[in-house]
Symmetry: C2
Subunit: 247 residues, 2 copies
Amino acid sequence: MRIKLTVAYDGTNYSGWQSQTNAPAVQDVLEASLFDLFGHEIHTLGASRTDAGVHALGNVAVFDIVTRIAPSKIAFALNARLPQDIRILSSEQVSDSFHPRYQRTVKTYEYHILNRTFPDPLRRNTEVHFHYPLNEKSMDAAAQFIIGEHDFASFCAAGFSSKTTVRTIYAANVRRTGDRIVFSVTGNGFLYNMVRILAGTLLEIGEGKYPPEKMKDILEACDRHAAGPTAVAKGLVLVKIEYPDAP
Amino acid sequence: MRIKLTVAYDGTNYSGWQSQTNAPAVQDVLEASLFDLFGHEIHTLGASRTDAGVHALGNVAVFDIVTRIAPSKIAFALNARLPQDIRILSSEQVSDSFHPRYQRTVKTYEYHILNRTFPDPLRRNTEVHFHYPLNEKSMDAAAQFIIGEHDFASFCAAGFSSKTTVRTIYAANVRRTGDRIVFSVTGNGFLYNMVRILAGTLLEIGEGKYPPEKMKDILEACDRHAAGPTAVAKGLVLVKIEYPDAP
């Protein structure tokens, strides 16, 4: 049967979901735990190849297994074997035709910013510290321009190969709670580094370097050089992945 | 002049504020940074000797120095020397008669609980995971009994020497936001392990082992054995220390 795992992790000590360098990848550690549990090698297929340092509260991975362990109990058995910075939040049987990447997906990301003089040591690995005052209303106004179907070529890092750079964003906003600012974005897919380049651009707009309407010009340019810098990885978290058409 | 520092730290890797074992203490690391900045040994006096694993967003420390560095700039100079899990949030000159412990203080602590099936790897060091359902309304009702002036002998760990175990609690409540429960308490002083024993008792009440009114009986017993267990350190954070009569 095919098992779908919901995987949360602190990306600080990993090279990302997939092995890219000599640093351990979340997938490698997960597969080692699966080996320990089932006694043979198991290959997992992840929904999102998060970068080094990026976190997840709801990445998705699937694997095929013949076992008498109840699907919902696999999460408990894996958590007993995994390091504390990786947790399986749920395990369930899905259709054998379920594929975490080729399926239509709705992904939600958040980018976390602490906007005050000094960083918070308790959240130093999961939010980006920004000293200068940020205008979250300008950032939110700018975020509205990305909602809908657009060519996001300006927000795509070099080296990304995809048939198209057109994606649909269903929701995007920037909200402040005290010193903390969160950029949330939900869409049907994201180009390489897209959320981090969007965040880097929103930070420049929040600083007042550009007006919110600049976002519209950047989109229309379809040129990576038009957008802001790629914001650092540690502020980014993959919050959830939904499968509206899951069989 | 006397300088007052507001100190935040992730207590995970420390033996507490003060050196008790061979593990490094927050105070030792701070004093090493002061040595590096000013070129000679400087002794600091901390307001609260937090235990190993306990966090702070606003502990207070003072020291005396003759320097031409502006008081407010000392925070920047120290942060450039401190590890990322300790941050000075402010530095200011105070009266030479200011003493962080003998002064009348109002301290606020929070105890953080994650109440769901599995822990959150992103907050694994700063909240306690509790699998079984907790009734936060019972916990909040129980917390109301501790408000006011009471003898807290039931909530004091052995080995604590103090003239009196009477303390005044100004505010106490338990609030749930989704899966997260926070116990907040503000008072004029806390006995050794008092907040953690209160939290351990509230967890038992939240589980339904005892009704909220049990808190009243425990207070009246003036006996450590009447109260619940000492909740683990990592859920506790010293939020702030106020000095209403500061000269």
